[in-house]
C-alpha cells in the first residue's frame, strides 16, 4: 500500500519531503537547545542572592578568587612610576564613612589582636600617627585603579603593612612576629578595616595585606593626606581595586573568616584583586 503510494510521487517530490523532514528535525532540536540555553541563563540570574549577587555567580567569583589568589612567596609587584608622573590632584570618588569630624591632632586608631575568645580589652592597641612615623617610610607611585574603570598614577607614602605587623606582632594565631617566608601557616587568613564611624568597612586576604606595596598611608604627594583622601590615615593596596583602599582607618582586626566588606555586601566580588 505504502509502496504504491510512494510510486505516485515523483523523485523530486520525495526529495523535497526528505528535505522538509530533515529540516524540521534539525530546527526542532535547535529550538529545544535554545530553550535550554535561556532556561540556564535565567536559572543563573534569577537565583536567590547572596549579598546582592545571585548565588551561582557568587560561587564563580569565589572560584575566580581562588584561581588568581596571591601567594606569600615571590609576589608580582605593580608597575611603579617616577614621581613626576603622579597626578597633582588625586581623584576622589567615595565619601562613605568620612562625614564625621575627627580630631586629627589627637588621632589614634585601634588594632585588635587576634584571640580565639571574644577579644579582650587588653587585646586592643591604640596607635598614633607618631608611632607609625617612627617606622620606616615606604613610598609607592603606582597606577591607582577604580572598579569603575578609571585609573590614575598617584604617589602615596606611609608604612608597609607588613613592617607594621612585624613591629606589633600582628596577624598570627599566637601573636608572634608574622613570618611569611618560614611560617606562613601561623598567619591568619583575613584582615578587616573599618572607618571610625563603622559606616565603611573592607575585608582583605592576608597575602594581599602582606604584599610589599601595601601601605598604611599618611602622605599624598609628599604632604599629609588631605581630608577627602582619608586624613589622617588610609589604606593603599595596589593589588586591589580602589574600593578596598579604605579611607580614614578607625579599627584594624584579624580573622580566620572573611570580615564584612561594604561593596561585597552590595553585589561586588569580595576578592576584587588586580
Amino acid at each position: 500500500m505504502t509502496k504504491m503510494k510512494k510510486n505516485n510521487f515523483t523523485e523530486e517530490q520525495i526529495f523535497k519531503r526528505k528535505v522538509l523532514i530533515r529540516t524540521i528535525f534539525s530546527f526542532g532540536f535547535f529550538f529545544i537547545l535554545c530553550i535550554i540555553g535561556f532556561k540556564f541563563f535565567h536559572a543563573l540570574t534569577d537565583a536567590p542572592k547572596d549579598r546582592g549577587m545571585p548565588i551561582p555567580l557568587r560561587q564563580i567569583s569565589e572560584v575566580n578568587a581562588k584561581i588568581f589568589e596571591r601567594s606569600y612567596d615571590n609576589p608580582a609587584l605593580s608597575k611603579v612610576f617616577p614621581k613626576e608622573l603622579a597626578a597633582k590632584r588625586a581623584r576622589v570618588n567615595g565619601m562613605i564613612g568620612m562625614r564625621d569630624k575627627l580630631d586629627t591632632s589627637n588621632y589614634f586608631f585601634k588594632v585588635v589582636r587576634y584571640s580565639k575568645l571574644t577579644p579582650q580589652l587588653s587585646d586592643t592597641l591604640l596607635i598614633s600617627l607618631d608611632d607609625l612615623r617612627h617606622l620606616p617610610k615606604t613610598e609607592v607611585v603606582f597606577n591607582f585603579k577604580c572598579i569603575e574603570g578609571w585609573s590614575q598614577v598617584s604617589w602615596w607614602g606611609g608604612v608597609r603593612f607588613s613592617d607594621f605587623a612585624k613591629k606589633y606582632n600582628l596577624g598570627t594565631f599566637n601573636n608572634l612576629i608574622p613570618d611569611t617566608k618560614n611560617h606562613p601557616e601561623q598567619l591568619l587568613k583575613y584582615v578587616g578595616l573599618q572607618t571610625p564611624d563603622k559606616k565603611y568597612y573592607v575585608g582583605i586576604d592576608m597575602p594581599s595585606m602582606m604584599h610589599p606595596q601595601t601601605i598604611l598611608c599618611y602622605e599624598l604627594n609628599g604632604k599629609p593626606l588631605p581630608m577627602d583622601q582619608g586624613s589622617p590615615l588610609r589604606l593603599i593596596i595596589p593589588v586591589k581595586y580602589g574600593i578596598k583602599h579604605l579611607k580614614k582607618v578607625g579599627t584594624i582586626f584579624f580573622s580566620e573568616t572573611p570580615p564584612p566588606d561594604y561593596w561585597a555586601d552590595r553585589g561586588y566580588d569580595y576578592f576584587s584583586g588586580l
Binding site: F15, S26, F41, L57, A76, L77, K79, I147, E148, V239
Partner: protein, 249 residues
Amino acid sequence: MKAFSKKHSLAVRWFHWINFPVLFLMIWSGTLIYWANGEYKLNAGLFEFKFYPDSLYKSLNIPHRLAEGMSLHFLFMWIFLLNGFLYVMFLIFSGQWRLILPNRKSWKEAFLVLMHDLHLRKKAPEFVKYNAAQRVAYTGVVFMGVLSLVTGLIIYKPATFPSLTSFVGGYENARLIHFVLTILFILFFVVHIVQVIIAGWNNFRAIITGWEITEIQTPNREVTPKEENLDQLNTSEKRNITNDEDEKK
C-alpha cells in the same frame, strides 16, 4: 539533480551556536561595565560620537549595573575561552584550518570578493567552502578573540601580570584595545548577518542542519549517508567541480 551535500560538521555547528550567545553576553555584560566609566569618543572635526549616547544606555536599561556586569563577564569569559580553544584545536586536528586560514592568493582575492559583493565586479573568484574574504574574516575574528582574552586578562589582573601589562603599553592601552575589539566584533556581527541574509535560506539552514542542497551532475544517484560522512574537503571540492562544469555549459 538535487542532493544533500555536507557543509558544516556537527562540531563546527556546536562551536558556532555556543559562541554566538556567549559572545553576545560578553558584549552585553562588557557594556554594563563600560558604562561606569564610558570615556571613549570618536572625534572628526565638528562631528563627535560618544560611546555610547545616553539615549542608548537608557533605552537598553544599562546604567547602574556594574556589579551585575562584572559577575556575568567573569563567568562567561571561561566559556568563551574554552569554546574558542576547542574550536581552534578542532580546526588544527581535523585539518579544516586549510579551509579557513588565508593563503597567498587570499589577500588579493578577498579584495575581488569585496568588489563583487559591492556590485563593482561581475565575477567572484572560485573557492572551496569559504571564499577569500570569508577566510580573512573568519581567521581575523579568531585572532580578535585571542586578543580580547589577552587584553581582558590584563584589565582583570594587571598587578598579577605586570610584564604582560607593560607589553601592550599599560593598563589604559589594554582597556582601549579591548574596547576597539568589541566594536569590531559588533561590526563583524552586522556584516555577517547581512551576508547571511543575502546568501539565502539554503546557506543559513546549513549552520543548523549541517547540509546544503546542491545540484549534482550524475542522474539517478542520491548521496548515501555513507558518502555524506566523507571528508568535508572532498565533498566541498566535489561540489565545486560540479559548479565549474555548470559554468562551462
